[in-house]
């Protein structure tokens, strides 16, 4: 391992002709189907896994559209019905002066999902194409996406709590709208897209 001015080249299990287990790190000879330590299926990583990422991502994007168009909440007050979409709910919270909470909902329901679509697409595109962002930055992006994705589920929980609390015996009733279901699906699909992405691909650059 002589230093020739460039950053030290790190040998990967893949380049050494071996397979590393993504669960427990144990190194195996090629041709081994299952890890001897943890029993996980072993696979040499390849870009074919990106197809699964794209499939989940597109599915998530498709169901994210109705999630924004249809009502998330149906409020009946004094015989009148109001529908609230995701964005409508945020605006209403701002109207009441709850800026902090409006910001949480806005972040969880709009900013995080949209940036997740962009970030996962960027990561998936950065594998076959050369991009300027270095590997460690893209790896950080991947970790953020993986960590933050589940927090988008907040609004689905909020709708459930509101509907269980504000029932028929009050002047107002809150019922969940169909958008809650498609939003939950969208969060699940994008989480699956992030989970299907193999971070080893980020580091495997031909050089």
């Amino acid at each position: 391992m002589e230093n020739t001015g460039r950053p030290p080249q790190i040998l990967t299990a893949h380049r050494a002709g071996l397979i590393g287990c993504t669960q427990c790190g144990k190194v195996h000879h090629p041709g081994t189907a299952r890890c001897g330590r943890c029993g996980a299926a072993l696979a040499r990583f390849n870009t074919a896994s990106l197809q699964r990422v794209w499939a989940w991502l597109i599915a998530g994007l498709v169901v994210y559209v109705p999630a924004n168009l249809y009502p998330m909440l149906r409020t009946t007050q004094l015989g009148r019905e109001y529908d609230n979409t995701i964005l409508g709910g945020v605006l209403e919270l701002m109207h009441h002066g709850d800026i902090g909470v409006a910001l949480i909902v806005f972040l969880a329901s709009i900013v995080i999902p949209v940036s997740k679509f962009v970030a996962i697409s960027y990561l998936a595109l950065s594998i076959p194409h050369r991009v300027r962002l270095p590997s460690h930055r893209r790896h950080l992006l991947y970790e953020v996406v993986e960590f933050i994705g589940r927090w988008s589920m907040i609004d689905v929980f909020v709708v459930a709590i509101l509907s269980s609390l504000v029932q028929l015996d009050f002047a107002a009733t809150i019922r969940p709208g169909i958008a809650a279901a498609s939003f939950a699906l969208s969060v699940a699909f994008t989480m699956l897209a992030a989970l299907s992405f193999d971070p080893r691909l980020i580091w495997d650059e031909a050089d």
Partner: protein, 216 residues
């Protein structure tokens, strides 16, 4: 806690090597002392972080989480008071909020994310780690159970739910007076316990312990 960089690998016996689970870098495996944190020199992912009495602490925390979950289910969760009427809502009411109509499948999803999956994780961890804490051989099928526990990790969303409760409280704030029931505090405690537990656990360390105990 000092970060330790594992040295790069030359070519040697496969048994002495470990591949970074995140970036596939090939590293020499060496014993990591208790309290030390071994990170991958390339992607800086924590590979091993053995802690004193980690297994015992994890099973204690998983056990308390289970008890707290039972409390959270059976005690009133939120209490809403408006126009002289009081409505109590339990965790189960919240789960059932989506029943009826087109959102029916969300009932199962809610039950899974808030109650079933976190509980399954706690039970699975107890099953896998309790024999480790006592110094016994691993339980039957401990490996697939632990794989399953790790698979469930992103889908157990108790902490997300707690933030959801906070947001909901502010939303109804103007409409009625709301008080938090004992179940809510049990659930908050459960979230704290879960986060503590996940901090004690390093996946590779658990796998190596399971492996070592099986052979001896």
């Amino acid at each position: 806690m000092t970060a330790t960089k594992l040295p790069f690998a030359a070519s040697s016996d496969v048994g002495d090597l470990i591949a970074c689970p995140t970036c596939d870098a090939l590293l020499h495996e060496r014993p990591v002392a208790v309290g030390e944190t071994a990170r991958c020199p390339r992607c800086h992912t924590v590979i091993e972080a053995p802690r004193a009495l980690a297994m015992t602490r994890i099973i204690m925390l998983a056990l308390s989480a289970l008890i707290l979950m039972v409390a959270a289910i059976f005690f009133p969760f939120l209490e809403l008071e408006a126009a002289g009427m009081i409505r109590r809502s339990s965790l189960l009411d919240t789960v059932m909020a989506y029943s009826g109509g087109l959102t029916e499948p969300l009932t199962i999803v809610m039950a899974a994310l808030i109650v079933v999956l976190p509980t399954t994780r706690f039970l699975g961890l107890l099953y896998v780690l309790a024999p480790m804490a006592f110094g016994w051989h691993p339980a039957r099928h401990a490996a697939p159970v632990f794989r399953f526990v790790e698979l469930l990790r992103p889908w157990a969303m108790a902490e997300v739910f707690v933030v959801g409760v906070a947001v909901a409280l502010v939303k109804v704030g103007g409409l009625a007076h709301i008080s938090l029931g004992p179940a809510f505090w049990a659930f908050v405690a459960l979230v704290i316990v879960t986060v503590l537990k996940d901090n004690f656990m390093s996946r590779v360390t658990v796998w190596k312990t399971l492996d070592a105990r099986r052979r001896s």
